[in-house]
Symmetry: C2
Subunit: 341 residues, 2 copies
DNA sequence: TTGTATGCGTTATCAA
DNA sequence: TTGATAACGCATACAA
């Protein structure tokens, strides 16, 4: 089979298509974009489409953006790691919906910097919207983005941002649910595991805050404990507890992985779960039910559907609303009680 | 504090900067890009920089791309989910290195389609390079990309692609290592768990192939077993095994999560691990060592560093080499023996 | 040492 | 119903 058209070495443009189809370049643009209000014969349309296909013509996104003034990009400069499986699935679904609405979803791999430097980096794309962790947005960064004509900036965070509309992913509530549960069970001293892996503070700090808030209301003692994901270290920690008459009688383990680590250590040290120490995890991973005793966990449920969120973003882009008082709860946390607490 | 400059409502351009600095637009470009061979006084440079800063000027990436003919984008249309934690960390590191070399890393969220449709979708960005799963590249897709002037297309896959240079992530070897180990231990019948979650076949099929290849050489029986991540279902499977005199005496569990699932089921059914049934996982997750008995797992080690890989990509972009015979081993698999086999 | 002028590929306005 | 033509914002060869 012959190649339908010669390979030029450079990407074909709409001018090439026009030449091949025997029409003007403008006509090509009309046809391929289904420009409304244009009366173009079906014969011409067919010629153009055929020419485009045979040349393998693909419009140049940069040229289109430059001319039209809109990129239709939704930029999500989010780290790939560290966010739970559930959140990742959420974002995948959200991307799917945004695509359906005609946006181009770009998960921008950046240096995880914050403030004005990061903002400049993002602004060069002239995206229609940016979704970013609240912590990376400073006042100057937001100003930069708005001044660069980016209509919509949305923060993802634990609490409403004073700067821009926020989608709240309530980590504080996760800790709070755990503490409420432990308070109900009459526990009086909660150890809160704080993973040492970098990048997780964004999640662990608000979870701790949630525990502390609820515990304070119940007169319960709270002690944060730094911990790496390491069997030795967990063993050391638990050994100290075993020898300590004032040891905590409950652990909120940040997530289910750390819960597994600490439960194993407790077991090895001869401490009973939940008899001596109750354990609560978070994320309700499949493995939670596989542990023995089965792990009590704080499950994070999707609130609005991805389609709802996408629609919301679309609306904000359309009317360029940047009202910081707009807040959207993304999830709700609820406790799944099993045998470990 | 006053705003240093009025907000125009539209993004400032290099012309705006030039006007404010009292120089020509070209000079702005020279200064901000440190154009070589230009002799511009330090005073002028300072004026330009100051004007740019006060306006919050950010170059328009699309305009720059259009004019210069190069986007410096490395497009990675990779799914966020499904790839092990290790692979994700690898890719993060690779992105970091590419950024250091001046590329803009775009993790493009697409519809996970393949072939010519996906290729057109990617080509609109005119990236300098594309990294994509081998399975998504058809001959037509590669032709489309090359014809659109995209110099470098690299496949990620289990085996070298006949179409483009390939970075090999050897899942086949993972299965092979597991089977070799089980053969050495004298096992005669291996069940291979095949997760039913969609998107994982890309990894599970080559792993099965690796097991099969090695097993065949040793006269060992292999039976693939479809399994969802579900305690009930695993229980049913194991119950059948318990009643079956010809049950497998070994399981390769796809990964450590499934290994945990099956180990729990085996234990509940009164089958001994590894006495009755040996279990081998993969990925060597931290939890592998936390299980009892401790889980034997196939660990995937980084071969070349991220910097090596990035440099390799950079070189390919520079000399526009598209030789499919270029193959780069990304990882090597090795077995970590513990008590479960 | 700096400014002028041109064109990248596209969309969109206006004539024809 | 279609075709010239003018921007969009920037980089760069060339002129001054």
């Amino acid at each position: 089979m012959e190649e339908p058209t010669p390979r030029t070495g450079r990407a074909p443009t709409s001018v090439d298509v026009a030449r091949l189809a025997g029409v003007s370049q403008a006509t090509v643009s009309y046809v391929l974009n289904d420009a409304p209000g244009m009366r173009i014969t079906e014969a011409t349309r067919a010629k153009v489409r055929e020419a485009a296909a045979s040349l393998g013509y693909v419009p140049h996104a940069s040229a289109r953006t430059l001319r039209s003034g809109r990129s239709d990009i939704v930029l999500m400069p989010l780290p790939r790691a560290g966010m739970g499986a559930l959140a990742a699935a959420h974002l995948d679904a959200l991307g799917e919906e945004l695509r359906r609405l005609g946006y181009k979803v770009v998960l921008y791999g950046d240096d995880r910097g914050k403030g004005i430097g990061a903002a400049r980096d993002w602004a060069q794309w002239r995206p229609s919207a940016i979704l970013v962790e609240a912590g990376r947005l400073t006042r100057a960064a937001v100003r930069q983005l708005h001044d660069t004509g980016i209509p919509t900036v949305v923060a993802l965070g634990d609490a409403p941002s004073p700067l821009v509309p926020t989608f709240v992913f309530d980590n504080e509530a996760i800790g709070a649910r755990a503490a409420e549960h432990l308070a109900e069970r009459g526990r009086s001293s909660i150890a809160v595991l704080m993973p040492r892996e970098k990048g997780l503070e964004v999640y662990s700090r608000p979870r701790l805050a949630g525990v502390s808030r609820v515990a304070a209301a119940h007169g319960i003692d709270v002690q944060p404990v730094d911990l790496g994901f390491d069997e030795e270290e967990a063993g050391g920690l638990v050994a100290r507890w075993a020898a300590d008459p004032h040891r905590p009688d409950a652990v909120f383990a940040y997530n289910d992985d750390y819960a597994m680590l600490i439960m194993r250590a407790l077991e090895d040290a001869g401490l009973r779960v939940p008899g001596d120490v109750a354990v609560v995890g978070a994320d309700d991973l499949p493995l939670a039910a596989l542990l023995r005793p089965r792990l009590t966990s704080v499950r994070v449920m999707a609130g609005p559907t991805a389609a709802d969120v996408a629609e919301r973003i679309d609306a904000m882009v359309r009317d360029r609303s940047r009202d910081p008082s707009i807040v959207f709860e993304l999830v709700r946390a609820e406790i799944v009680v099993r045998e470990s607490s």
